[in-house]
Structure formats: structure tokens, C-alpha cells
């Protein structure tokens, strides 16, 4: 889902950068105010893990591969969409500057898609679904699925503005591929949440913990 430099004019990339920087600034304030030294190991491990998981390309049939985005996972585990903006920005900077995975001028658009939209959609859809279903795995799965699909559709619209994709073909193909890829995103997100809950339940947002564990006696 990483938009390369060649897919977008510089001036459009600059507009997305300006918007992205607003969210990056707020995410830095979030990190400064909300992250204490106790959560530092988990945040750093999540950054490393998201980097590696985004590199793992899994076949999703139809001659196409998919990889984890991770915005929903980070936002749900740390209890804030700005956690996703913070960590996805770090990961995208390393990917873009060191490896050319995603562009430099398009990094703002990639931060918006994967960090901002992925984080906000993942966090708030998890919250709403959890309130409705009271099931963490079901809520996390569908939140992660949506947090994979919606950023892809937004990327298709951005690339339509850029003149790279026609809108119908872009939305259709991106929608199909990332709706399938979102299933992997959902499964990995649920598995990662339960892995982290099992090893360090004290570090995760209380909304993720099963109710009997998280309830106040």
C-alpha cells in the first residue's frame, strides 16, 4: 500500500505532507504525555514488529500479495489512534529513506493512509464493535479488516487525483485486493493482541483485556 514517488506529482505529495505533519505533531505530543518508561519496551518492540510484518508478503491469490499494515493493531493495543500515527510514521520513514519502500514526497500520503486512517478506523471501529459485541477477537478482526480496506480505498482516490489510476478501476481492484488482504490483517492482529495480552497484560489498554480480567473488583 506504499505509494511510490513516481505515482504522484510533487505538489500533491506536499499537500498530503502538510496534513500528515499536523497528525504527526499531535502524535508526538501524545507520545510525550502518554508514554511512560513502563510502556517504552512495548512501543519499541511494536515498531520493530510492524516493520518486519510489513516486509512479509503473503500470497492473496490472483497474482497478488498482501502484507500487514498494523495501524489497527498498534491503536488497539496502546489505546489511541495517535499511537498508530507515531509508530507507522517511524516505520514509514525507515522504509522510505533506507529501502525505497514508499516514496519520500508521497510519505505524507502514506502516513495519512496507513497511520492516520488506519489508526483512527482501527481504534474507533474496535471501540464500537466491542461495545456492541463484547467480543475482543471479533471486534479486533473486523476493525483490522476495515483498517486495511479503507486506507487502500483512500489511496485509490488519491491516485485518481494524481492521474495515476482511473477512479472505477482503482477502487474496484484496490477494494478487492485489500478486502482479501484485510483477512490476513485481521487474523494477525487478533493473534498479536492475544500474544501481547498473555505476556504483558499490564502494558495494554484496558479496553482490550477480557472483561473478567479488566473488571474492577
Amino acid at each position: 500500500m506504499h505509494i511510490p514517488d513516481a505515482f504522484m506529482p510533487i505538489w500533491q505529495g506536499a499537500i498530503y505532507w502538510v496534513i500528515a505533519l499536523v497528525f504527526v505533531y499531535i502524535s508526538l505530543r501524545w507520545a510525550k504525555n502518554e508514554l511512560n518508561e513502563e510502556k517504552l519496551p512495548l512501543v519499541a518492540v511494536l515498531a520493530a514488529g510492524i516493520f518486519a510484518l510489513q516486509f512479509l508478503k503473503l500470497p492473496i491469490l490472483m497474482g497478488t500479495s498482501g502484507h500487514l499494515v498494523g495501524g489497527a493493531l498498534v491503536a488497539i493495543i496502546l489505546g489511541s489512534p495517535f499511537a498508530a500515527v507515531f509508530i507507522l510514521t517511524l516505520v514509514l520513514i525507515v522504509q522510505g529513506i533506507m529501502f525505497g519502500d514508499g516514496g519520500i514526497t508521497t510519505m505524507g500520503a502514506n502516513i495519512i493512509n496507513m497511520g492516520v486512517i488506519g489508526g483512527f478506523v482501527g481504534f474507533y471501529s474496535f471501540k464500537g464493535l466491542k461495545a456492541a459485541t463484547r467480543s475482543v477477537p471479533v471486534s479486533a478482526f473486523f476493525a483490522a479488516w476495515l483498517a486495511c480496506l479503507l486506507p487502500a480505498l483512500c489511496a485509490a482516490v488519491e491516485l485518481w487525483f494524481a492521474g495515476t489510476f482511473p477512479i472505477e478501476a482503482g477502487l474496484l481492484a484496490m477494494g478487492i485486493y485489500y478486502a482479501i488482504g484485510g483477512i490476513i490483517e485481521g487474523i494477525v492482529t487478533v493473534a498479536a493482541i492475544y500474544l501481547i495480552i498473555n505476556v504483558r497484560p499490564d502494558m495494554v489498554d484496558k479496553n482490550v483485556l477480557p472483561e473478567q480480567t479488566g473488571a474492577v473488583a
Binding site: 517504552l40 516493520f51 518486519a52 512479509l56 498482501g66 519502500d101 505476556v199
Partner: protein
């Protein structure tokens, strides 16, 4: 529960193992965005495989070009998969260290400039 050192060690090891698995067993197919570009350019259909010689072309005139030190997660081509493994280990550790460094830096700045108390 595991302690912080074990969490960091296990987390890094799992991330590196995922990266190494990806180097050797990751799909070589284009991702969804690349596939969509190939469809738009008539080199692929939604359900067909991409041809081996498929290449994405764009007609964006005002575009930026950047040459990263390790393009496509590889060191030098002659290093092959070993270069890919080194690149992914380096990238994973870099993401980890930048996260730790940035949070420490934010905390140091926060201590030097404590927020003003509400009146």
C-alpha cells in the same frame, strides 16, 4: 508475565525471524497497489498473474526521484538473499532504536520544559 528485558529480546527475535522468513518465503507477486497499476496499464487482469516482465510506467511529469542506500531491501545484488537478511535485520533494529531514541528525546524535552500548571 515476562520482564522488560525478556519482552524486548523476544520481540526483536520474533521480528527478525519474521523478516528472515519473508526474505526466503515471501511472495514475489506485486502487492495490491502494484497489481492495480498493472491492471490499469493493461498488463494484468484482476484475477490473472502478472507477467514476469511486467513493469509499471507512469506519465507523471513533475515527480521526485530518490535512490535509497538499500533499494528493495537488498544490499548489493551479488549478496543475494544474505544481503536481504542483513537489510531486514538492520531495518528492524533501526525501527526499534529510533522508537526508543525518539521517546527518550521527547521525555528529556518534556522534563526541561514541564507543562504549565492549570490556573
Amino acid at each position: 508475565m515476562i520482564d522488560n528485558k525478556t519482552l524486548i529480546a523476544c520481540g526483536i527475535i520474533i521480528a527478525v525471524v519474521i523478516g528472515i522468513v519473508a526474505v526466503f518465503f515471501g511472495s514475489g507477486d506485486p502487492d495490491g497497489m502494484e497489481s492495480t497499476a498493472l491492471i490499469v496499464q493493461g498488463q494484468k487482469t484482476i484475477t490473472s498473474a502478472a507477467p514476469p516482465d511486467a513493469a509499471i510506467h507512469t506519465n507523471i511529469e513533475n515527480k521526485f526521484a530518490y535512490h535509497p542506500p538499500m533499494p528493495d531491501y537488498s544490499l548489493e545484488k551479488r549478496m543475494g538473499a544474505q544481503g536481504g537478511v542483513l537489510a531486514i535485520i538492520g531495518g528492524t533494529l533501526l525501527a526499534f532504536l529510533i522508537a526508543i531514541g525518539l521517546i527518550y528525546a521527547l521525555k528529556v524535552v518534556g522534563k526541561k520544559n514541564p507543562p504549565k500548571a492549570n490556573q
